[in-house]
Subunit: 489 residues, 2 copies
């Protein structure tokens, strides 16, 4: 006689209802063969006593097991382990000890993309200076849920639960075209918009079409590392130009164009990643002129347009009357990174073409989320939130700046950024950020790994310190630890 | 004096609150320059009268415009169009008539992928026989929303609103490993699982690593068209083998292996797409043996494992004790296509590698949805629903079969499928499905385009008719029209 008391252990503090815990365990016992097919199970009363739970709980567990096909009731005979469980073929699945063993190395050959390797993103519950991401504690997720609920509250909207367009929700494409026209001066209609899952996906899709093996792409000598990876992974040869206080040096791009066929130039003009500087109006005009003269594509990554604190922001390159720009932006930077909605804006025919690749990559976006975002834009919810966030982040930028000065260390150099969510902080060449980072970790402060910010090994010894996701107390605590660590070097 | 009465028109039946309609219109008027900077706006009473709305509505609209920075209040002077609007640079954005004009052709050169071109998915409000997709009217979207709500109800869970792992939600990877072990006999742990956005994304990511230009991939001579596109887009040369009543003919694959280096074999063993036949146990064993002998990868697309109506289903190839299989499945097929969650199962090192590509494609999945799905699996919600759906779809398969016989046309040949969501229906060679489709459309019945089911132009003259998304009345209506159309040929 099997002792269920020992086999089924119940965790009353778990989120999982007790009857589910029981049915899950018993289903597993059946799979493992501990409970054989046709095995007669104890009655609900007997089991409820041996497990010391209410009889109703056992009945619920048995119903669950029945609905999943693990057990069956034979009238006037009792409850039995089902006699027809899934056939175990081609061969048995169970390892002797019943613990699944992970499959280790692929037995087939495949191509490596070592350039792509990078640590996965980890969220420790530790005080963290990130590289500049929004504070999710102010995210309007209640609004997102409310809008999603409203959409599905209407019978005729249930179609949004099925497959949708590879180009994204039609309403969102329309609303975004208006929104981008009104906020950024883009002369576009819905047909110029492809809904993506963030600016990175726009960058990926565009690169697949624009770059062929050996094509030349120009980036800043400091640049967003993931953009470099995206270009090189597709076979691009990267050429670099300097980045100064006015952004990427377009004169240097012109020199390159004179001697070599440039296919694409990647820029983050609003706030250069990682240095945070803004590309000057003169250079914007110059870059567009160069694109038209030499026929290259401008990949404009405008990931943080909404966060600018000084004067009114300059309009994106995409607002110029040209078809040379592929413009990429993200809604998730405003709402919350977890809501994966972004957009690519380009000429009609390019958007048309790229949509077909989207189909084989992941078929489409999230129809309900996209419709919810469309309604939030229409009703101004997102504009309201971004206004609110802008105000808060400006305060946090200023307090971060103040605190950096307060704990000032002669080993650090920095300037207050006009926008974005991070400071670009230089460290005295005698030290390096890896040391600082290691020491900070010992004091339970996590700071960014600076290596990705120097992809071309210039040794500028800078790091990106994000301020937006930390409130004043957190900023003070974090920067105090940082300064103590640096002073102790 | 501007007449707001004529400029602002209010649609009281719109979803958009009236005050938002007013603020949106006025914001646009400001952008368009119709309302110049520093222009003095009418008082709330005056405007409410001319627009014939409640004064509170106008005040709300003004608040909205203020919060968006379009207007400003000068104490004891009144309300004015803001004097510092975003600088319009590099140059003005407005076209003379104020209507945005779409950007047409890309001015830069890019690579075409003509093979990928295919019509976009359209949802007309028309009676439709689809190619075999779930009925979203029974989708448990309430549960999905409830679980999502519960997740964000906990302060410590707000981290799910930020960036997450490129491999997917850790809990879901664990729960899925158990679930796939228990339901499909896969000997795996979380490290063998990458969360995707559906089986197609798994297919795309795997192909990027396994296929190089000119590599040989084997598919059935009838095969899922999108899979063919995914392989050829990556540079694969496709070799085909016959598909009979026992599925793809593995003997033919063996013959190919003897003479040429096969890199990968794509299969949908559970129900071959499009013909719906199941790969026999003997051939499964044979295929795995071939993979081990010749070192190729098996791309196993198990998009509809949960829908099998005859006997208990055979276990997937991935349950065999081999590292040659990359297994792809989808949760969205069970819950609803709009909830983009799927998985790739493979050896640890392959999953590790593929994750890095995921980062540049779209960074990650939807953390909240993934966590919600994890909890739904843990608590059996998904199992319960799939049980319910299985029962319903079996009834619908049987009624569809009955109706096909009732309206029997000597021009149609078909067999009842053991599983899946569609019938594979042959049409008398004297006619073709395009004619039938065109005639059906005239009678407001949409049926699938059959061309994608004959990618290698075999002229088998079959089409896939989905039954799962239609209730009895809809099936009867649709099949009556279809038979009338065919009889009239």
């Amino acid at each position: 006689m099997i002792s269920f008391k020992n086999l089924v252990d119940i965790n009353r503090s778990s989120e999982v209802p007790v009857f589910i815990q029981i049915s899950n365990t018993m289903a597993r016992l059946i799979k493992r063969g501990t409970l054989a097919q046709k095995y007669k199970l104890p009655g609900s009363r007997a089991l409820s006593e041996s497990l010391n739970v209410h009889r109703k709980t056992v009945i619920a567990a048995y119903d669950e097991l029945m609905s999943q096909g693990w057990i069956e009731i034979v009238p006037s005979k009792g409850t039995f382990v089902s006699s027809k469980l899934p056939v175990i073929a081609p061969q048995s699945i169970d390892t002797e000890d019943g613990i699944a063993c992970p499959k280790g190395k692929a037995a087939f050959s495949y191509y490596h993309r070592s350039a792509l390797r990078r640590d996965d993103f980890k969220t420790e519950d530790m005080l963290t200076i990130d590289e500049g991401i929004p504070d999710v504690r102010i995210a309007p997720f209640q609004e997102v849920m409310r809008h999603s609920k409203n959409i599905l509250a209407r019978e005729y909207n249930l179609k949004h639960l099925s497959y949708g367009s590879i180009y994204g929700d039609p309403l969102l494409r329309n609303v975004l075209a208006d929104y981008l026209h009104e906020t950024r001066g883009l002369n576009i209609t819905a047909e110029n918009v492809l809904i993506t899952r963030g600016s990175q996906m726009g960058m990926y899709l565009a690169t697949q079409y624009i770059i062929g093996k050996g094509d030349l792409a120009v980036v800043g000598e400091t640049n967003y590392w993931t953009a470099n990876l995206t270009l090189t992974d597709q076979g691009a040869e990267l050429l670099t130009v300097p980045v100064d206080r006015d952004g990427i040096v377009t004169k240097a791009i012109e020199e390159l164009c004179k001697t070599r066929p440039i296919k694409a130039v990647y820029v983050t003009p609003h706030h250069h990643h990682p240095t945070t500087v803004t590309l000057s109006a003169e250079r914007r005009v110059h870059l567009v002129q160069l694109a038209e003269k030499y026929g290259f594509a401008i990949l404009e990554d405008d990931y943080d347009y909404d966060f600018h604190y000084q004067r009114a922001p300059l309009l994106p390159l995409a607002s110029a009357d040209t078809d040379h720009v592929v413009y990429m932006g993200a809604i998730c930077k405003i709402v919350a990174p977890a809501y994966r909605v972004g957009y690519m804006v380009a000429s009609k025919d390019f958007i048309q073409e790229v949509g077909h690749l989207r189909r084989i990559v992941d078929r489409q976006g999230d129809p309900i989320l996209e419709r919810a975002v469309a309604n939030m834009l229409k009703q101004g919810d997102i504009q309201r939130h971004s206004k609110k966030a802008l105000k808060l982040y400006k305060e946090r930028r200023d307090s971060f700046n103040m605190l950096l000065h307060k704990f000032h260390s002669k080993h650090l150099t920095f300037e207050i950024p006009e926008g974005g969510m991070a400071f670009w902080v230089g460290l005295d060449k005698r030290y390096n950020w890896d040391m600082v980072r290691a020491e900070c970790l010992k004091r339970h402060l996590k700071i960014p790994d600076s290596k990705p910010y120097d992809p071309f090994k210039l040794g500028h010894n800078h790091n990106r310190l994000g301020f937006a996701s930390l409130n004043y107390e957190e900023q003070e605590k974090a920067l105090r630890i940082l300064s103590e660590v640096i002073s102790a070097l």
